[in-house]
Amino acid sequence: MKQDYLVLKNLVKIFGSGKDTVIAVDKVNLEVKEGELVTLLGPSGCGKTTALRMISGFELPTSGKIFIDGEEVTTTPPNQRPTTMVFQNYALFPHMTVYQNIAYGLKIHREKEKNIRERTETIINLVGLKGLNDRSPAQLSGGQQQRVSLARSLIMEPKVLLLDEPLSNLDAKMRVSTRLEIRKIQQRVGITSVYVTHDQEEAMTLSDRVVIMNAGKIQQIGTPQEIYAHPVNYFVADFIGKANFLEGRVANILSLEEIEVDIKGVKYKVYISKNTFSEGDRILLIIRPESVELEPKKSGAINGIISQVIYLGSRMVYEIEIDKNFLTVEITNPQEHKIYSIGEEVSVILKEKSLHVIPYEEIKK
């Protein structure tokens, strides 16, 4: 398996000129392994779609280079690139049938008629569209249109498959089942894929690795677990899942991998991957709502007042006010725990294994 099958090197895209200049993609570096599915995840306007369009060839980078399987394709026109794209709105040709849509690429490449028929039938079976050959796109459901679009791209056996928010036009239920199916097909075919989405759940369930982008820059690259458990900055922690942020300072450097932090007079030991901190540094302590426990008020802990209680059956969500800041706490299986009510004073217990520290940043609310 090749480690650097798709390589983006210092990719920059600037739109407009003068006053209206927008840096859509800012020095993006990425290496995608053969057979890997990588997701570009970020809020709208973060540059993920622009990045994808540069890989497909519809946008030319302002600077930087793109390599696929060792070959530079930075300025290769889209019709000569070994990539195919699944469009957000599917872009099915309305004047062609399902079969004609799927066979289109092979026809363009002047494959033999017999060859086209065999490969089209195979791919139609693979995506589960058997029997719909002669329908027009307008006669298909959203999910079926999506599969035609996928089949039309897969049949070309591209070196890299690009997917531009392919599930955003489906309803919530279809989205879940279709994304599992896309993942299965992708793994069965073993095709290198770049997937753009703004839906973090989609990114977490689908991807081998996730690339978090914001304002044109890559914030973090990692497996879904890494991104969730060890976000590198405030943006990533806040964007992925729910997170509580507590301000504090570094109290002690215990070792290369462990520091002690001081949060409102209470000290916690935190594991870190690499030590870039020194004593006295301001930090943000990140703790997920499910890693906090509540106890009746006691000394030597962080104390607060319950300001909101939401009962969700399998979970209980509390909001606790601590010095005008709010901390969200999720208690799973609430039957096993004491139930608190609004106005009660409590101590919050932070589980040390789940703590994570990042350098201090202004918290935006």
Binding site: F58, P78, F87, N89, A91, P94, G105, S153
Partner: protein
């Protein structure tokens, strides 16, 4: 059985609803009366006059026409002219639309405005300019003669040239809408799958725009058939139906022959119109896919840019050349002989044409608001209300889009020169016949504007008003009208433009007492006083531009972001 019973119930239900809103009921009746008297009746009269001789059904007019070359030639001439104009005009319109929607051509706004300018200009300006440029004393005459030898601008060639310039903009507007609506991601998908630029065009863009191309072709064909001003000026010995019908009636006083020629003009036009309306537009693929992404292909090879840009530049250059010539010509002492600049043509034009100008302004100013209000009201009834005869009302109003002006004009003389049961006055020779003709001739613009605006407004907004206790009239006045006001005013603007520039129908109903500026221009041209004609054209264009400017200001103040009305057809 059951279904017919349900139908009866539905009808009685509707009747009861109408009964509860007497004002609505009365206005529906009034509109029907107007449509029947001023739209259907005149056309019916043309048919009747061509078919009935001495109170008996008689096809001799038609057999005469098909047996004498003198009579049937105009039919084939008109068709041939229509086919040429439609084909060339559609090609130019398509290239323009392609350039503006699919290429990074600079100065797009400039090209778009220039390309649509001929739509608002008086119809025979282009023909007049062609005479100044290529006529016997034309400034380009010696040059062209050197290249192709002896030629004459009067005839089929000249007609194709001027009608293409005049009507290619229509094709452009239709195709611009179509190409804009084709999702660019379809073309990207095709390219992504390996298609070259040429393949993308031949397998995706062209097939998807085929219905639009057919539409554009038919609309230009209709306009060319119905054109009166250009052939009147430049057709020479090439006889076309609209002009021949006019000459039969005003020159030979042969009403039945004239009517028969008008019917020959009416039938192909109406066939082409309904083909366009009901068959071609049904085949459109354009709305099938989801929301457009707005992204367009940006890199383009030179071998596509070069011919496309060249075509756009040449056409724009020709438009400038033709309109520039009108301006230039109006200031020259004697065209082709004495190029000293002078204002005397303007003075002469004003002395002779002052009354025409005032008549035109007064009559248009009266007719425009009436046409606007009736148009918007009909569109409201047709789109929003259920009543018996709604289908008929829709059909008649659609009919007014398509009927050639010549047919309407002849119909008006036949219908209103005597008292009838429907209308117990003689209108011929009065200002009213002109005003009413302008109203019902230009009403389609208001209807179009209204329909386009109403379709954008969610009916539930009006239902909410009714739900809160307002009746139909209050709802229309307080809710609907304010929301469609911008469309109404831009509709008014084009109404006024059309009223000021129309010729084909009104030329039959003008009188010594009430006359129009376009007729005056035609008079100048007839007497070969081209400079005065050019001066008057300029005046007319300036008036039209001022009117458009004023309305644009009003529209900008009332509502922003509301689509302006398309003025095709």
């Amino acid at each position: 059985m059951n279904s017919s019973k349900r139908k009866i119930q539905e009808i009685t239900g509707n009747l009861r609803l109408i009964w509860k809103e007497p004002l609505l009921f009365v206005s529906i009746l009034a509109i029907f009366y107007c449509l029947i008297v001023f739209v259907v009746f005149p056309i019916f009269q043309v048919f009747k006059t061509s078919l009935i001789i001495d109170r008996q059904l008689n096809f001799s007019n038609y057999s005469a026409i098909f047996s004498k070359r003198y009579y049937y030639q105009p039919f084939f001439n008109s068709m041939l002219l229509g086919i040429y104009t439609a084909t060339i005009g559609t090609i130019i319109g398509f290239i323009f639309a392609y350039a503006l929607t699919r290429t990074p051509m600079p100065f797009k706004n400039f090209f778009r405005i220039t390309a649509t300018f001929p739509i608002i200009s008086p119809p025979f300006v282009v023909a007049l300019s062609a005479i100044l440029l290529f006529g016997r004393a034309g400034s380009l005459n010696p040059f062209i003669t050197k290249i192709i030898g002896d030629y004459t601008i009067y005839g089929l060639g000249g007609l194709i040239l001027v009608e293409t310039i005049a009507y290619a903009p229509t094709a452009f507007l239709v195709l611009y809408g179509i190409l804009q609506a084709i999702d660019p991601s379809l073309e990207e998908a095709s390219m992504d799958l390996g298609a070259s630029r040429v393949k993308v065009f031949s397998t995706i863009t062209l097939p998807l725009s085929t219905p639009g191309i057919a539409s554009a072709w038919l609309l230009v064909f209709i306009q060319s058939l119905a054109d009166f001003g250009n052939p009147m000026v430049i057709s020479g010995n090439y006889r076309v139906l609209s002009v021949q019908a006019y000459l039969q009636i005003t020159g030979m006083y042969d009403l039945s022959r004239g009517s028969t020629l008008a019917i020959l003009l009416f039938i192909p036009t109406i066939v082409a119109f309904f083909l366009q309306k009901y068959w071609v537009s049904r085949k459109s693929y354009v709305t099938v896919t989801g929301k457009p992404t707005g992204a367009t292909i940006k890199q383009l090879e030179w071998y596509i840019k070069l011919p496309v840009y060249t075509c756009c530049i040449i056409f724009t250059g020709i438009v400038f050349l033709f309109y520039g010539t009108i301006v230039h010509g109006s200031f020259q002492t004697l065209w082709g002989v004495n190029p000293t600049l002078t204002l005397k043509h303007y003075v002469e034009m004003y002395q002779v044409g002052k009354d025409y100008l005032i008549d035109s302004l007064v009559l248009s100013a009266v007719a425009t608001p009436i046409a606007g209000i009736i148009g918007i009201f009909i569109s409201f009834l047709v789109i929003r209300k259920k009543f018996i005869g709604r289908g008929v009302m829709e059909f008649i109003s659609i009919l007014t889009f398509a009927v050639p002006g010549t047919v309407v004009g002849i119909g008006y003389i036949l219908a209103f020169n005597q008292k009838t049961v429907l209308l117990p006055f003689i209108m011929t020779g009065t200002a009213w016949i002109i005003i009413i003709l302008l109203v019902f001739r230009n009403m389609p613009v208001g209807i179009r504007a209204g329909i386009a605006a109403l379709q954008q407004i969610d009916p539930s907004i009006e239902e909410a008003s009714t739900d809160l206790g307002a009746d139909s009239n209050t709802t229309f006045r307080r809710i609907t009208l304010p929301m469609i006001a911008p469309a109404f005013f831009s509709g008014l603007a084009y109404n006024f433009v059309k009223a000021m520039t129309c010729i084909s129908a009104v030329i039959f109903v003008v009188s010594g007492k009430w006359n129009l500026i376009t007729v005056a221009i035609l008079g100048f041209v007839d007497n070969s006083r081209y400079a005065q004609a050019a001066a008057m054209c300029n005046l007319l264009i300036v008036i039209v531009l001022i009117a458009l400017g004023i309305i644009q200001l009003i529209v900008n103040r009332i509502g922003k972001g509301v689509r302006t009305v398309d003025i095709i057809g």
